[in-house]
């Protein structure tokens, strides 16, 4: 009998010893009730080696770090917080609901809010919308009424208020250029109201026609801004507002045409798309978009111009690794006697263009952006993207383009996917986080997330 068994027997005698244990060992099989292992041998603990001893500290540290994560998740699941949120934010039939959304883009105030949907309309029509805010300085509200799919019509109403919008002059000005001119990126605010009708019509083969028309009213302010100096400070008229016959806190109309009066304008345009990219996650292939939009000032607004856009995309590879090349060009052409409002100029910077630069950093009558992306698979619900964007702005119809003034940016992004079921190459992109660096601007982070 081994010491372990003797000890077990002694301990067992204090409590209850199964009658089976009283039978001599040689006449019965090993029995865990008698403190024995099933093969009858003594249990051996693994020896404490130097390696094991050395790993005890990181092991303990890992346990300390993981404890709140595991137990926090457990609390969320135990109390069914996500389920309750789902239940509270969705009607019983699942056709009406609200979902949280957050958005962040460096240089601007982070915003949060909710998107909602109302799917009880006939013929698969839908009312959807979203509301995001960062307090009274940022209000983004959009209400979309989508008609039956075969109509392809959407009617949208939009209110977009931001008091942290950015303006850094017109033209391809670097930070050094701005500093040399005693300027810098400045802020202004605006309340934009609009109603828009969008129309999508698939055409034979791979073509799609997109139409749109809108009415907009934009009112600007330089007195209440956040995130930096006001445009009234940086882009004031030479000699001051009084000398220019303008009220206090004014902005030089030559540098920011249309700011003082605001904008009352209507747009109408069409885009022809050629889509040869695959659906789902792969998106391999090519696409071409060519569009034109006419703008006409209303209620005394003298604006009259046309905007032409072109975009080409080539994606080579597959879901595992892909190279995407994109070129985008846009130009706005004056049609009437008035100047083109600063807010109607081409601005190729921002989350969908030159990602290392914030929206509004560059403005011009024409603009170009070239993007090269390398995307690769990390796991079925995640991929990574290395990207470089380069772009610039120029005068009318790309005149005065300074080929030595291209503004590059670089970055990495991660996209989350959700699976519609089945193969990973059919997963749909959902949320994205990107980190960009531009030598002329610094680091930026772009992030959008929708919950469940």
């Amino acid at each position: 009998m081994t010491p372990a068994l003797i000890l077990a027997a002694l301990l067992a005698s204090e409590t209850t010893v199964p009658p089976a244990c009283a039978v001599p060992e040689t006449e019965r099989a090993p029995d865990p009730r008698c403190g024995e292992t099933l093969d009858g041998r003594a249990t051996r603990e693994p020896p404490m080696t130097a390696t094991r001893a050395a790993l005890e500290v990181p092991r303990l540290a890992t346990q300390v770090v993981m404890w709140p994560i595991v137990h926090g998740t457990e609390a969320v699941e135990r109390y069914q917080l996500i389920d309750w949120m789902d239940a509270i934010l969705t009607t019983d039939d699942g056709l009406v609901g609200v979902r949280p959304i957050i958005h962040y883009s460096t240089s601007f105030l982070p915003s949060g809010g909710a998107r909602f949907f109302y799917d009880r309309l006939p013929a698969a029509s839908e009312v959807a919308g979203q509301f995001q805010t960062a307090g009274p300085d940022v209000m983004l509200a959009e209400l979309d009424l989508r008609g039956p799919r075969r109509w392809g019509l959407t009617l949208a109403a939009i209110w977009n208020r931001r008091y942290d919008r950015l303006f850094a002059g017109i033209g391809p000005h670097s930070v050094d250029d701005l500093e040399a001119a005693g300027q810098q990126a400045a802020r202004y605010g605006s309340d934009n109201f609009g109603a828009e009708l969008r129309w999508v019509r698939p055409l034979p083969r791979w073509f799609t026609l997109y139409g749109h028309a809108d009415l907009q009213r934009r009112d600007y302010t330089a007195t209440h801004v956040v995130g930096g100096p006001s445009v009234s400070t940086v882009f004031a008229p030479p000699g001051g507002c009084a000398a220019a016959g303008l009220p206090a806190d004014c902005v030089d109309p030559a540098q920011m045409p249309g700011f003082a009066s605001g904008l009352r304008i209507a747009h109408a345009g069409a885009t022809l798309g050629l889509g040869l990219r695959e659906p789902g996650r792969e998106r391999r292939g090519a696409a071409l978009l060519l569009g034109a939009t006419a703008a006409q000032g209303l209620a005394g607004d003298p604006s009259r111009h046309a905007t032409f856009t072109g975009e080409g995309i080539v994606a080579v590879g597959g879901v595992n690794r892909m190279v995407v090349l994109r070129a985008r060009a846009a130009a706005v052409q004056r049609l009437g006697g008035g100047p083109i409002p600063f807010d109607e100029l081409i601005s190729p910077s921002g989350d969908t263009g030159m990602r290392g630069f914030p929206d509004g950093r560059f403005r011009g009558q024409s603009g170009l952006v070239g993007t090269a992306e390398y995307r690769w698979y990390l796991t079925w619900y995640l991929d990574a993207t290395l990207f470089t964007d380069v772009g610039t702005v120029a005068g009318p119809a790309f005149s005065d383009i300074d080929w030595s003034r291209w503004f590059p940016s670089f970055g990495i992004g991660f996209r989350l996917f959700k699976s519609p079921g089945g193969a990973y190459w059919d997963a749909l992109a959902r949320d994205e986080i990107q980190f960009a660096y531009a030598p002329d601007n610094g680091f930026r982070m772009l992030f959008t997330m929708t919950a469940f």
């Binding site: 019965r28 090993p30 029995d31 092991r59 346990q63 994560i69 699941e77 309750w84 193969a423």
Partner: protein, 564 residues
């Protein structure tokens, strides 16, 4: 008491000295009858603690795939032997597992019958909604008031869930695990009533009545037979008081019968081999159930494996994707490797061939989904999440798991697949895939380790021979012409008594274990398989332990163990 203390100290010194003198790393087996019962069904007067693990999938995923995995690696625990193993390297009967087909082959009728339960008798009454799991279903009682969980196949994939449950449950039962059972049956919508008290949990939290309209709406999204009838799988309610899941690590608090940490149970560790064979995606504690049962006046906990509806090519509501059986939900190492190599590192499932096979199989066999046969590689199979017991599976445990899997004959598989009532083409493919994957498992896990079984000692007083069955040869996973045995005999203290190498001649072999004398003997047998370039490197050893039985004047086999 003083006397006992002296005896204890003396015994400790003697035992310690003996242990130090013995062959390093190898402890002796006592000369005792082999344990074939774990005796873990003693009466437990008070029902042990319950849990809600089945509702904590994210917690279990993070806990087991990150926290527990980091802890396992940093603990540097090495290969730890399973503890629910007897002296013949088998798993004794317990409330967890009781060997069936691999030790006592079942007839095709027995294997097709599965666990005993009465199939549902129409009409059916819905008494509750199905609040957990992805598959569409309801809790129903039949005309005899027997309670079932009834699950349906998704539209376009008739048989996807029902076949997986019906065949999967029977296989686990035949292997020796506790399962509820499952039977495929058909009924018309008119055979289905809704109890006025039936409720379901909307969004899993808000109790709502189950209405006819809801039932109709749910049934609209499932597969129907050409005549409009509905094919479903009925899973009988587990008897006793259910107590939540059993975990794959640690022990259940309050259950004195639960003596062995679950991660050290071979029956759980090696269940991975069955899960891989059947391509079950979700094999963790989420799909287990403990029940406090009463048998012959005793109350104890019985442990069940549940929900095999994501077996074969099924992901429950659609076919498995190529990634489903090739990737855990959380893959820190692989994800970082992909990130830092800019995608040059690729998982096996990302290959073009795998993609083409997925497209071919899901199109050809919508009732089965993506369940590859010849290209199956158990080494790269991965379910949804890392399971602590599976992560501790050693080669020895895997060999045992492979014994379970390879015990299923072609005839038995034919009988099992027939219970799924699939079309001829789908049945033929499922049967083929099960056979091919079984054989791949057999070759993968039974060749690297000497497949020594049923050892006996022949001691004529002058010469000792040890004879055994070679299961790899017997089941066709190794050919005698390519196999040689490398035999090393020691005296139990590490002193060599002889070595030899001999060619295999068939499924039964005898090797010399030296002459008489001594009290203990360890016969180590490794197999050397020709690898195409000549004789290969010997594999992992199986060791037969012999002990001198004085009263009979001969050596007897007292133990069988293997390299981990």
């Amino acid at each position: 008491l003083k006397q006992v203390g002296f005896i204890l100290i003396a015994l400790l010194i003697v035992a310690g000295g003996a242990a130090l003198a013995r062959e390093p790393g190898l402890s002796w087996f006592p000369d005792r009858p082999v344990a074939w019962s774990e005796h873990d069904d003693e009466n437990v007067a008070k029902m042990p603690e319950t849990n809600n693990l089945q509702e904590e999938a994210a917690t279990v995923t993070i806990r087991d795939s990150v926290a527990n995995e980091a802890d396992r690696i940093l603990a540097a625990e090495g290969k730890v032997s399973a503890q629910d193993v007897n002296a013949m390297d088998e798993v004794p009967c317990s409330t967890w597992f009781c060997a069936r087909n691999h030790l006592h082959p079942l007839t095709t009728n027995e294997i097709a019958r599965g666990p005993a339960f009465d199939p549902p008798v129409l009409p059916l009454t819905i008494v509750k909604g199905k609040d957990e799991g992805a598959a569409t279903g309801f809790v129903m009682v039949d005309a005899r008031h027997n309670k079932f969980m009834v699950k349906f196949d998704p539209a376009g994939h008739q048989g996807l869930v029902s076949a997986a449950e019906a065949v999967g449950e029977r296989i686990f039962h035949a292997a020796g695990y506790n399962i509820a059972g499952a039977t495929v049956f058909e009924f018309a919508r008119s055979d289905l009533k809704v109890s006025p008290t039936a409720t379901f949990k909307l969004f899993k939290v808000e109790k709502r009545p189950v209405t006819e309209a809801r039932v109709t709406s749910q049934l609209a999204g499932i597969a129907h037979l050409p005549d409009g009838r509905i094919r479903a799988v009925a899973i009988p309610w587990i008897k006793g008081q259910t107590m939540g899941s059993f975990d794959m690590i640690g022990r259940r608090p309050g259950d004195p019968n639960d003596r062995i940490p679950h991660e050290h149970r071979r029956s759980l560790r090696a269940s991975w081999v069955l899960f891989a064979w059947l391509s079950v995606l979700d094999s963790g504690p989420i799909n287990t159930m403990d029940s406090y049962v009463e048998v012959a006046g005793r109350h104890f906990v019985r442990h069940y494996i549940l929900d095999l509806s994501c077996a074969f090519g099924s992901s429950t509501v659609f076919p498995q994707g190529p990634q489903d059986e090739g990737e855990y939900l959380i893959e820190i190492g692989r994800t970082l490797r992909s990130l830092f190599t800019l995608g040059l590192y690729q998982r096996p499932y990302q290959s073009r061939q795998n993609r083409e096979e997925w497209q071919r199989l899901t199109l050809a066999y919508p009732s089965i989904g993506f369940y590859p046969a010849e290209t199956f590689d158990p080494e790269i199979f991965r379910g949804d999440r890392r399971v602590p017991a599976h992560m501790r599976m050693t080669a020895r445990d895997a060999y045992w798991g492979a014994k379970l899997v390879t015990s299923f004959t072609d005839d038995q598989l034919h009988a099992l697949v027939a219970t799924a009532q699939l079309s001829t083409g789908d049945s033929a493919y499922l049967e083929h895939a099960l056979e091919v994957r079984r054989d791949i498992i057999g070759r993968r896990y039974m060749r690297p380790i000497a497949a020594v079984e049923n050892p006996t000692a022949l001691d004529d007083g002058h010469r000792i021979n040890v004879c055994f069955d070679d299961l790899a040869v017997a089941r066709g996973y190794a050919s005698p012409s390519e196999l040689r045995y490398v035999v090393d005999v020691t005296d139990g203290y590490g002193r060599p008594l002889g070595s030899s190498e001999l060619a295999a001649v068939g499924p039964h072999a005898c090797v010399a274990a030296g002459g008489p004398g001594g009290e203990y003997r360890i016969v180590s047998i490794r197999t050397r398989l020709a690898d195409g370039k000549g004789a290969g490197t010997p594999g992992k050893a199986s060791r037969i332990h012999l002990r001198w039985r004085a009263r009979e004047g001969r050596f007897v086999v007292v133990g069988l163990e293997r390299d981990e």
